[in-house]
């Protein structure tokens, strides 16, 4: 085999759960580290040295501070493939929901005394740099991270899952939560998570983003027929992926 891939696992603003999900592949983690050359992974070791060049960087987190923009652009310039890891990286996740939160709810929480924690608009990574691939999910599926690394090592790009959550959910033999009048977003959400929330009896919140063919108007109408208020439906859909569903505004205005 030719030279090992130089890989970085890093994060900007986020909870570090995605970065941790990489290491959650406990049975395979040693094998992975034999296949690739991990240059930077703060959870596991100290950085390898001064500003290395990368083949692949798995980058968690959203842009929420000037430091994030700086770091993200620096890493983009030093890597061949940038993989956005997790929902914060993909859509901005819950921190980006503050776009729809009244300013007065947030004002008293601002630490504006310090220059290095100044805010910028909460935005996903692709608003600032070119992102080559996305591993969605909050948290991302650890098996999927493994598949992506495997694909990169073999030079065969991983093909993302595109079917709705419902496909895996029904295969798992779950009772449909919509039939139980729970506001499950499974039908309009990209699967690949093995319907982990619904398996536990919890409705899907749509953290992996909407499917390309999601029929929003019909879905919203169906939830309304079940007795859910428009404001609630809107809030629920925006919580994880608000920035990636601009069409929702028009649907709600109808």
């Amino acid at each position: 085999m030719s030279e090992k891939l130089k890989v970085g696992v890093m994060d900007i603003t986020g909870c570090n759960g995605c970065v941790l999900s990489v290491a959650f592949n406990e049975d395979e983690v040693l094998d992975i580290f034999n296949l690739i050359d991990v240059q930077e992974y703060r959870f596991v070791s100290d950085p390898a040295g001064e500003k290395p060049q990368f083949d692949v960087v798995l980058m968690e987190g959203l842009v929420a501070s000037p430091r994030d923009i700086e770091l993200l652009k620096d890493i983009r310039a030093r890597t061949k493939v940038l993989v956005a890891l997790g929902t914060c990286a993909h859509t901005g996740c819950i921190p980006a929901y503050r776009k729809w939160t009244p300013k007065e709810n947030l004002a008293h929480l601002q630490y504006d005394k310090f220059d290095d924690i100044k805010d910028v608009d909460p935005t996903p990574q692709d608003a600032h740099v070119k992102v080559d691939a996305v591993i969605p999910g909050c948290p991302p599926n650890r098996r999927e991270i493994l598949e992506v690394i495997k694909g990169l090592v073999l030079g065969k790009p991983y093909k993302p899952y595109t079917m709705p959550v419902c496909v895996e959910c029904r295969r798992n033999g779950n009772f449909c939560l919509l039939d139980l009048n729970k506001p499950c977003l499974g039908p309009i959400t990209v699967g690949g998570c093995f319907a982990i929330c619904v398996n536990a009896g919890l409705e899907c919140w749509g953290c992996r983003g909407q499917t390309a063919d999601a029929n929003l108007p019909t879905f919203v109408r169906m939830l309304e027929d079940k007795g859910f208020k428009r404001e609630f439906i809107e809030e629920r859909m925006r919580t994880f992926v608000g920035l990636k569903i601009p069409a929702l505004k028009e649907v709600m205005a109808e």
């Binding site: 570090n16 950085p47 709810n105």
Partner: protein, 61 residues
Amino acid sequence: MTKNITLEDITKIEGHAVLVLRVSDGKVEDCQLRAVEGSRYFEGLLVGRRYDEASWIASRI
């Protein structure tokens, strides 16, 4: 003799932090831990949400 020690990026923690120490004759005189993470405002985002939604949202902190 006074010496400043700065750890720019502490490893094996969740989030980002910088540790700044001022050491004088082997004694630590000042110690600052700076959180350099962007703000996420979870406390504010929870206001007005349904009580049974709080665990979904707060578990992402």
